[in-house]
């Protein structure tokens, strides 16, 4: 199998390439749900192994993880453990109308604080919008990775994948 995916030429994925990993809007309205952008077959199964509800499907260690959205309980463990920082979380259950909460893993300084307005970046590093930080989690399981939850307009929910304080 040659490694000639177009996303390997670019270094980032387009929205079409991750479309099938994005949870449907009805599911996001019900509560937090994980989405993964690990779209190349690499030998790693940390997400599938840590998931408490077996919501990440992965027949062999070299398969692309697939999140079963109805099984996902939004615990964020996959975000914390993923070495590729390729898991994100979407949630519309707590946000005001027209807004979505997006959770991204963050390992840079400075670490934003709750209430800060940060730059929200898309997959190519473009500053698409400003966003308010609504939650910051640091868990020992994550070995130092922070999880930053920002509130963005719905239209950016599938685009914002990083923040810069």
């Amino acid at each position: 199998m040659p490694r000639d995916y177009p996303f390997l030429k670019r270094g980032y994925a387009t929205i079409e390439e991750v479309q099938k990993h994005l949870p449907p809007i009805e599911r996001i309205k019900k509560g937090p749900v994980a989405t993964n952008e690990c779209i190349e077959e690499i030998p790693c199964d940390s997400c599938a192994m840590i998931c408490p509800t077996k919501a990440v499907e992965m027949p062999t260690i070299n398969d692309v993880p697939k999140v079963i959205f109805d099984k996902c309980i939004g615990c964020t463990l996959c975000l914390q453990v993923c070495p590729g920082l390729a898991f994100f979380m979407l949630d519309k259950s707590k946000s005001p109308e027209g807004k979505t909460w997006v959770t991204v893993p963050h390992e840079l300084l400075p670490v934003p604080k709750k209430g800060d307005i940060v730059k929200a970046l898309d997959r190519t590093g473009k500053h698409v919008t400003d966003a308010k930080v609504v939650m910051v989690i640091k868990s020992p399981k994550a070995y130092g990775t922070y999880l930053i939850t920002v509130e963005v307009d719905d239209e950016y929910a599938n685009y914002v994948r990083a923040v810069l304080a």
Binding site: M1, P2, R3, D4, Y5, F7, L8, K9, R10, G11, Y12, A13, E37, C38, I39, E40, E41, I42, P43, C44, D45, S46, A48, M49, I50, T60, I61, N62, V81, C82, P83, G84, L85, A86, E107, L108, L109, V111, L121, D122, R123, T124, G125, K126, Y143, G144, T145, Y146, R161, A162, L164
Partner: protein, 547 residues
């Protein structure tokens, strides 16, 4: 002696003279998202006779780097500035004279109070003038031994004059702080299993062999266990049953704990294996003695070191191996530069870009000659989302700068791998990271007489070996990058296989040993099963022999 410390506060003119590309007074990283640095107490030593401040846990080269000094010496022949490249004692770039001892690998030599560090090679004004004359007026870059030979009887006279200008400089005649006790007689000891190298493969081999009851001697030239894991701040891929999701630095600590608590392992750190002699006898050089160890089984896990790339000016200070940069910033907590360009978008290059961001360095781009990134997509996505451009199908044409790097020229490649004229792009940077792959550190195996084969997919000359990782020399095993450049997870598995096999051949065995061995083999095959492992699988097929 001048008591003023070279640590900022001096005029910019002075800094420039010292080879200071950065405007910072102190390049040490005080805050890092992942790491905490234990530097120990302050120490003062001397560079070219002037006092410099360092910390006791730093090495000489690192302390100089932290003070903005990047030019350590000048080259023997063309008087080119020399800085640091590999930062793990594998190359000859950082050699200096310390306390009168020449050729000290300053990147791995700790500082001590009052150390007298001096550059090697001619560094005076006269030498520079001499070099200028030789190079620009008389003959251009040519080897002077070829020109000053007529008439023949004057040759020695010419050389005696020339050596005042160029060459290694004046040799020191005495050592300033000689070690107090040096044992002159060679000690000989016997061991059941000797493991050379305490990286992921070596430590795993030692632990698994020792757990079966074998007495193991684990030797490493560094002062710590874990090899290159100690600079890997990223979380590991692989199987969650092993180390996936855990950062390399944490894995190194786990190894250290396991090795130190194992009664069957004798640990020899800060000990260099200088040769493997007849009968697999291992010569070990320690600070004040030379040891000869005769093992029943020998496991060699010396790992690999970085390749470099040919381009104009590729020897300037500020051009470093990717691993070297990682050592500077992740082990010693020193900012390696302000603006970086990375050559090679394999996993190492991509991870390096991300780690540079974490250390507060601006990454100007990653250049990759292949049409796609060589590393995992997720690593590329991780740096792309912070806006770092990845130039696939590009190469570095030359580095700019005279005393240190001030920029680089990159260009697009055509189908024949030649730069396309007109596509050149100038990038301003003061650091260039070279991550174009590794080659196995196979010198000891060559001494032992192991049969080797060149396998480009595995990084170079690779020892032929059986399924149990035994080489063509009976009783000599390999594991890790030395047996084919891969990554730490597979090195750990291979180490376990080598450790168990060596112990079993000595008669050590537990009831479930064979089962365990089978399981490790299966896990290893799983890790290599995907499309990323395709090249590796093909490579290993070429070096596998019947046991």
């Amino acid at each position: 002696m001048n008591n003023k410390v070279i640590n900022g506060g001096k005029s910019s003119k002075k800094k420039k003279k010292q080879g200071m590309p950065m405007n910072e007074k102190d390049a040490r990283i005080r805050q890092h998202p992942i790491l905490k640095f234990d530097r120990g107490k302050k120490i003062r030593f001397f560079f070219k006779g002037k006092p410099v401040e360092g910390y006791e846990n730093e090495t000489i080269a690192m302390a100089l780097y932290a003070n903005g000094i990047r030019t350590f010496s000048h080259s023997f022949k063309y008087h080119r500035p020399r800085g640091m490249f590999c930062a793990i004692g594998k190359c000859a770039s950082c050699l200096m004279e310390v306390d009168g001892i020449p050729n000290v690998r300053t990147c791995i030599t700790p500082i001590h109070e009052g150390a007298d560090v001096r550059p090697q090679g001619r560094d005076s004004i006269i030498a520079k003038a001499g070099y200028f004359l030789m190079n620009h007026i008389h003959m251009g870059p040519g080897f002077y031994y070829r020109h000053f030979i007529h008439p023949g009887f004057l040759y020695q006279f010419y050389i005696s004059i020339l050596e005042k200008f160029i060459g290694p400089g004046k040799y020191p005649t005495k050592v300033k702080n000689p070690p107090k006790t040096v044992k002159k007689e060679v000690e000989t000891m016997e061991a059941e299993i000797v493991v050379i190298g305490a990286g992921p493969a070596g430590a795993s081999a030692a632990i698994y062999a020792a757990n079966l009851g074998a007495k193991v001697v684990l030797i490493d030239e560094n002062r710590y266990i874990g090899g290159q894991l100690i600079k890997q701040t990223h979380k590991f891929f692989g199987s969650a049953r092993h180390y996936a999701g855990i950062r390399g630095i944490t894995i190194a600590k786990q190894f250290e704990k396991e090795v130190k608590s194992n009664k069957n392992i004798t640990l020899m750190l800060d000990s260099k294996v200088v040769g493997i002699y007849d009968g697999n006898i291992v010569g070990v050089l320690q600070k004040n003695r030379f040891l000869r160890i005769k093992p029943k089984k020998l496991i060699v896990t010396t790992g690999a070191y970085e390749k470099t790339l040919v381009f104009e000016n590729n020897d300037l200070p500020g051009i470093m191996g990717a691993g070297g940069i990682q050592t500077v910033m992740n082990v010693f907590g020193i900012k390696p530069g302000n603006e970086a360009l990375i050559v090679g978008a394999g996993n190492v290059g991509l991870i390096l870009a991300y780690q540079l961001l974490q250390a507060g360095v601006t990454v100007k781009g990653i250049v990759e000659a292949m049409p796609t990134v060589g590393g995992y997509f997720v690593h590329a996505a991780k740096v792309r989302r912070y806006g770092i451009p990845i130039y696939t199908r590009h190469t570095i044409v030359k580095a700019l700068g005279k005393k240190y790097v001030t920029g680089a020229v990159i260009a697009q490649l055509d189908d024949k791998w030649q730069p396309i004229p007109g596509t050149e792009k100038k990038i301003k940077c003061d650091l260039i990271g070279i991550s174009v792959g590794l080659r196995p550190a196979n010198e000891l195996l060559l001494q032992a007489g192991c049969e080797m084969k060149f396998v480009s997919a595995l990084g170079g000359f690779i020892p032929l070996r059986t399924e149990n990782n035994e080489t063509t020399v009976k009783g000599v095993y390999v594991a890790g990058d030395l047996g084919g450049v891969e990554e730490a997870s597979t090195a750990i598995m291979e180490g376990r296989i080598a450790g168990i096999s060596a112990a079993m051949s000595l008669g050590y065995k537990a009831p479930d040993t064979e089962e365990v061995l089978e399981k490790i083999r299966k896990d290893l095959a799983d890790l290599r099963a995907g499309p990323v492992g395709e090249r590796i699988r093909a490579g290993i097929k070429q070096v596998l022999i019947e046991g």
